[in-house]
Amino acid sequence: MKERIHKDVVIIGAGMAGLTAALYCGRMNLDTLVLENAIIGGQIANATDIENFPGLASVSGKDLISALQRQTESFGAVIDEFDEIERVTLKTSPKIVETQEKIYEADAVIIASGMNRRKIPLAEGRKFETRGVHYCELCDGHAYAGKIVAVMGGGNAAVDAANFLTKYAEKIYLIHRSELRADEVSQKRLFANKKITVMLQTEIKALRGDKRLEEIEIFDKVSGVTKVIAVDGIFVNIGVEPNTKLFSDELTLSASGRIVAGEDCRTEIAGVFAAGDVREKEIRQLTTAASDGTTAALLAEKYLSKLHG
């Protein structure tokens, strides 16, 4: 039988939004638990060089998150990164967050579950996962020292990944089906690096290999030519998908699968807030995630004050 534990606030997700919310909740003396199913820091933990966080000229995601985690824990919030959430019930009072080992009864819930990288939409993608197909440069880039890799995608994450992989790989192909969307600073670095060949208007049609990835088939949309290039690995950066599967029965999701909530982060269920990338909104940045975390925490405290009279 699982142990039942009461919490003032349970925060789902330990990325920038979740940890900021936890920091504020901790400072307001709320009994706060953060549950993280993957990596503390979320997507940002994999960022090698953040240059747009105010006050920090350049910082790695790992260092930024480590500092935030220490700061958050120093104000009393507890982070559990091992006990995975199995289901949630949000419409009851208290709200229930059931993990593999425990049942948490929470007066308020802040959902900051963030995003996951989109998987490569090719049948062979699964077959070669960790055997040439990768979703984390920081984790797996080192395995390609002196080798040839491709990066699939054209946004900031893809361009930054290609730039990062020059640290290890001998040659990098950046392959994107349309035009680059990355910011100018990153693109400038990309085109200046002789190790990188940029292939735009080019689609990856197939992945081939025996036990691991050996080559990819690409189609040049401009020339109409199909060719095969030898690669040892491919790093997929074709966007992200919101982590909202746990909540789809109880909360309204947008067409893109994100939680519908206003700028005040309030969802349609009283006491349930959505913060960060998981919330439907136009701009999703590290700074707006921190802003959402702040808003959600302060309004959760207001909600709890009313609830407890």
């Binding site: 990596i39 503390i40 820091g41 933990a45 994999n46 790992k62 990164e81 091992f82 995975e84 593999q100 960790t130 055997r131 990768h134 984390c136 920081l138 984790c139 797996d140 080192h142 395995a143 036990k211 691991r212």
Partner: protein, 77 residues
């Protein structure tokens, strides 16, 4: 004794080490970026350099952070 192959910048390596510590499990840590010998051993075990690789006997191993499989490995130690 459990051995974890990983490297410092790998988030799931760090998570695996933290999990073993949270369970009070002693382990050897071998950094594949700092030791060519560790990298070769890791590659021999899993056939690749994707980490973390957690093993007891150098034959059976857990690739990545997988709590259930790590629990089974710990139980078999």
């Amino acid at each position: 004794m459990i051995t974890v192959f990983g490297f410092e910048g790998c988030p799931y390596c760090v998570k695996t080490k933290r999990y073993l510590e949270s369970r009070g499990v002693e382990y050897n840590y071998r950094d594949i970026e700092l030791s060519a010998e560790a990298a070769a051993e890791c590659q021999r075990i899993s056939g690749d350099l994707t980490v973390p690789v957690t093993t007891i006997d150098g034959v059976n191993y857990v690739l990545g952070f997988d709590k259930k499989k790590l629990d089974e490995l710990i139980a078999s130690a």
